[in-house]
């Protein structure tokens, strides 16, 4: 149990900016041999499907797998405790330093890279997501609903301005459409993964 706490505290401290599921797999499956790939990969699929950060979900899944409910709590707690402390410290530092020319310039550079990082995630996610024209439409629809749209003319009808819709509401609107489109279609094979352009 102590090892579990130690490992996830280590993961919490050494993980930056997300995208570290491969790193966790190497630690837990390859090095420590606590789980086999057959146990790890379904968990990864599960946390990718469910809401929440993948790292957080994986810590709960692995903790539960190894030590039951208490293991989940220990893994999640030790994952978050160090980042929580360091993040709060940085936050206070920022609030006390205030928005001076120095902090503004420093953070402008960091933010530019953060934007680039976010944009690269769009490309990575898009590569996996786009299997046909409908997927592109779903991406644009989701984007437009979250962003809100300005008013425009369509066939002599005035389409009113659409305000920002909160993410939960957008998911409730788009998800049924997306699941219906990707529903299992026996004529095209076992699952919809086989359908559509690749």
């Amino acid at each position: 149990m102590l090892q579990l706490a130690g490992l996830f505290a280590f993961i919490g401290l050494t993980s930056f900016g997300g995208g570290i599921t491969a790193y966790i797999r190497r630690l837990v499956v390859t090095q420590k041999r606590w789980l086999t790939d057959e146990e790890f990969l379904p968990g990864l699929g599960l946390v990718q499907l469910l809401p929440g950060a993948n790292v957080v979900g994986l810590s709960v899944y692995i903790g539960n797998h190894l030590k039951g409910p208490l293991g989940s709590v220990v893994a999640l707690g030790s994952l978050l405790i160090c980042p929580f402390i360091s993040t709060c410290a940085l936050g206070f530092l920022y609030f006390h330093a205030g928005k001076t020319a120095d902090t503004r310039a420093l953070l402008a550079g960091i933010t530019a890279v953060a934007c680039g990082l976010m944009a690269s995630m769009v490309f990575e996610a898009g590569e996996k997501a786009i299997k046909g024209a409908m997927d592109i439409f779903l991406i644009i629809l989701t984007f437009a609903l979250v962003r809100g749209t300005p008013s425009f003319e369509l066939f002599d009808h005035r389409i009113p301005t659409l305000p920002h819709l909160s993410v939960p509401i957008v998911i409730l609107i788009v998800a049924p459409l997306a699941i219906w489109w990707h529903r299992p279609r026996p004529s095209k094979g076992l699952s919809s993964t086989d359908s559509g352009a690749s």
């Binding site: 950060a53 934007c115 769009v122 993410v167």
Partner: protein, 189 residues
């Protein structure tokens, strides 16, 4: 104070259960609710900070260790900052727990019946359906953050360079942030 804590808890607990594709996808709603952006729609505008603060807190959380969504901790911290250090820390704790605990419960309970679905074709359907939605949400988050933060040509160029380096090399993003921060501090002050 209690109202603010409650607002923080409700906002992040809701977002926790809608963060399909990782915490970053709920950034647009977090931004909308935390920053005063729409005076005509005040119900969910808490006015905890301005645009610049939000973007800066996001950048700090990306550069700091931890899961990508530690920005919720900073938003909670900032929301309760006017009430003193102790309350601010409480706000940060409430925000963090509200963001990470509900989704964790979901993983815990779903793990038990997940295996029953192993052979169901619907499992693939749902996964295929969620991918484009996640992509659209990340796109919206990227758009919001970039729109609020990138105002000058040099920062735009830095962002594009960072994107290219990210896509085509394996340089650590935190290293890039450090270098960009120093460059920006040295030349753009």
């Amino acid at each position: 104070m209690n109202t603010t804590l409650l607002q923080v808890a409700i906002l992040f607990a809701t977002l926790s259960l809608s963060a399909f594709g990782g915490g970053k996808v709920v950034l647009p709603t977090m931004h909308h609710d935390a920053v005063q952006v729409r005076p005509d729609y005040p119900a969910n505008n808490h006015q905890w900070m301005d645009d610049e603060d939000f973007v800066n807190l996001f950048s700090i959380s990306m550069a700091a260790p931890g899961p990508s969504m530690m920005v919720v901790t900073l938003v909670g911290l900032k929301a309760c900052f006017p009430y003193g250090t102790a309350i601010a820390l409480l706000g940060a704790l409430v925000a963090t727990l509200a963001m990470f605990v509900p989704s964790s419960f979901l993983v815990y309970f779903a793990g038990n019946w997940w295996d029953h679905w192993k052979d169901s074709p619907w499992r693939h359907s749902v996964m295929d359906a969620i991918m484009p939605i996640s992509t659209g949400l990340i796109l919206a988050a990227t758009w919001i953050i970039s729109k609020t933060s990138i105002h000058t040509i040099p920062t735009a160029i830095m962002g594009v360079i960072a994107l290219c380096l990210m896509l085509f090399t394996k340089i650590n993003p935190v290293l890039m942030m450090a270098v960009a921060g120093v460059i920006s501090w040295a030349f753009l002050r």
